[in-house]
Symmetry: C2
Amino acid sequence: MMKGRNLVVLIGIPSWLFLIWKGDLYYSIFILICMALALGEFYSLMEEKGAKPLRWMGMAATVFIADYYYVQPAITPHEMLGGIILIIILTCIWELFSKKENSGQNIAATLAGIMFVPVLLGTAIDIRQFDLLMSTQLTLVLVLSVWACDTAAFIFGTLYGKKKIFPSVSPKKSWVGSVAGLIAAMAVFLGFYYQDWLGSYFSLKDAIVFGLITGVFGQIGDLAESLLKRDAGVKDTGTLLAGHGGVLDRFDSLIFAMPLAYLYVHFIMHY
Amino acid sequence: MMKGRNLVVLIGIPSWLFLIWKGDLYYSIFILICMALALGEFYSLMEEKGAKPLRWMGMAATVFIADYYYVQPAITPHEMLGGIILIIILTCIWELFSKKENSGQNIAATLAGIMFVPVLLGTAIDIRQFDLLMSTQLTLVLVLSVWACDTAAFIFGTLYGKKKIFPSVSPKKSWVGSVAGLIAAMAVFLGFYYQDWLGSYFSLKDAIVFGLITGVFGQIGDLAESLLKRDAGVKDTGTLLAGHGGVLDRFDSLIFAMPLAYLYVHFIMHY
């Protein structure tokens, strides 16, 4: 087990960093695969609760949404919404003709999975495309910042973490650990900013906001995923990454941090 | 009961036709109210199955989506998607802090309701705005066509309907009734087209496609809603409209017909 865990770290981290550096189509396909795996895990969680999501519908929607984020500036709001409408109607019709039990729950689980995984995580593709256009390193620093946050939270939480932050959802998370995580996340962004590695497009204020996004909402994303797992009565979402749980477990911080960074870039910075 | 039923017809139908004629803000607010009521009924169906959807979240999303369809051409895909992302993240965080049971199911029901009701039904606002711009009567004819379809299906189904079309979902719908409904839906569109009342923007082919949309997918929307009701073990979605069930019951044909007309107008006709 420990050996498998180390192997994942040894192969996984350099590969991920390499793909972030490569960017464009390679990175987008990598994210697409991650989204499909994470969605499959989300659907397994829903199945624990008695729903039978339409897995293939979810996968088809994932491809559509990944493609949307990839080519995005060239797409109109009508086309965007048209795709979503088609997904909803096809899901309902598919469920109608599949003649299963619990139809309402099956439709709800199918659509919720599409919203929770590809719509949120797909923003990772958009942000990398933004990096490409603006010669920035936002993707890389977001990922490093999340890792720093997790690591600091784990170390300080283990050493000094007494008062728990949200015991009903995540019995291990402590206040000390979470604050340490926030500081580490912030430090990574400020470090990159002051070294001029983040990209000249971003100001100090931007770096601080991104630090808050990963440091605070990364950890809230983590809690949200724990909530789903706890509700389904499972410890990990999958066993694909030996000792690291599933893909959804590995992306739990990014699942809120990436879309919030997307909102910040497109709404507040008006890119 | 019968009196209440007649009263709804006497007041409801002229009011609806008046609002379609008025269009713009009046009609859009009317549709917004219908969406909010229908979403409330959808959530009640989900509650029958044990979920506790976040009703206020759904209502807030409904207002956002109605506004989107109303002002739509002025909105970018980023803004559109940004709103959806915000809805998803807020739903998860809200559920996290509300500390209820069955979190996964609650989040799924909340998001699915938003997809099923306002995203689909909101296209009614877009189509009326399209009518305004192009001096067409698509909204009016869609509604009349659905009424004709329902009426013909009911009369012919009652008189001659032996072979049932989908007994597991809707025990009353017959093949004879459904075909009669399709013919009636088509006849309304062709009638308006040949009288030049549909608007010069549409060709004969367009009128035929719209007839098929209401005649075929209007009835499938009806079945999809029956599926949800049957799953929840209720006969009507609400009691608001005495003898007519709830708002969702009244809009069940339009819930697929309107968005499909939207897709046709914006994708196939490339408006």
